[in-house]
Symmetry: C2
Subunit: 174 residues, 2 copies
């Protein structure tokens, strides 16, 4: 009997760039093995034209942009935004067994801003089929999520081009 694959729980957190981008790179690697990859977006705007175009080359790569943008100047979260995040998590829960790798993009951020309950994401991790790799991105991952993860990387900003007055560049940042 072949050894069963052990799906990892991976977290990309921190205030630097590269959290979503490294998840994309991991997807790219997994797709090369013929894996099926699902990437669900919890915050609208985190995906850019470039990756959406490239993703079309891979029939095994499904990107689901379910989250909404949200403005929270007063610390309040709109019900529609909370609803969209919950639906995104429900979608991932319903379909995760069809995939080898599932990426919940910006899910940590969604917890931080009250769009999702931490408990619901912890339950999601518990319900994950053993052989599915799960990647959770977003700054400020909670302690319990880090505790539950197998692999945690903090992407830390050391220097940013905005500090030099350079605008966001096509092909790099979008």
């Amino acid at each position: 009997m072949a050894a069963q694959r052990q799906g990892l729980v991976i977290v990309h957190t921190g205030n630097g760039k590269g959290k979503t981008t490294a998840a994309l790179g991991t997807a790219f690697r997994a797709l090369g093995h013929g894996y099926r990859v699902l990437m669900v977006q919890f915050i609208k705007g985190s995906w850019k034209y470039g990756e959406l175009e490239s993703a079309k080359k891979f029939e095994n790569f499904k990107l689901v942009p379910m989250g909404r943008g949200f403005v929270s100047t007063d610390g309040k979260v709109a019900d529609e935004d909370r609803q969209a995040a919950r639906e995104a998590l429900a979608y991932a829960r319903e379909h995760m067994a069809e995939y080898d790798m599932v990426i919940l993009d910006e899910v940590n951020y969604a917890i931080k801003f009250g769009l999702l309950e931490e408990k619901d994401v912890l339950d999601f991790i518990e319900q994950k089929p053993m052989d599915v790799h799960l990647i959770l991105t977003g700054r400020d991952a909670t302690e319990q999520i880090i505790e539950r993860a197998d692999l945690v990387t903090e992407m830390k900003e050391i220097k940013h081009p905005y500090q030099k007055g350079i605008k966001a560049q096509k092909g790099v940042e979008f």
Copy 2:
């Protein structure tokens, strides 16, 4: 007259995972814009089957695995390894103007282990055409390279599956 693109100098450093992977993700995004991307490898073994397979889908993505593996138990570096690293840098220098984005993968590591002179890499950066985006990966980026960069992210290991006794997993780590 259209504004000229300002090519960024980007560094991914730190002891965590995701340095090469985030560069791959950035390549993936850039390729979606139709950009031509060159990725040159300075340390053999940093690329895995998965990304090599996926890269084949993109005719604008050229991966050049020029570096060699090296064993340095006594702190010495073989001439052949140094030669291979120099040739990799020379190749990138000769061809960089044909690309929109150039990734020197594990180049920081190559400097650290004496395969390349820091000065040669700093010169390379200076010679870069203005509109080319350049990504340098590898742990222990030197101060001068960080000084010269526009965008620097440290990938910091918070938790690694080896700590739990989990083996490297196909599709994630290779």
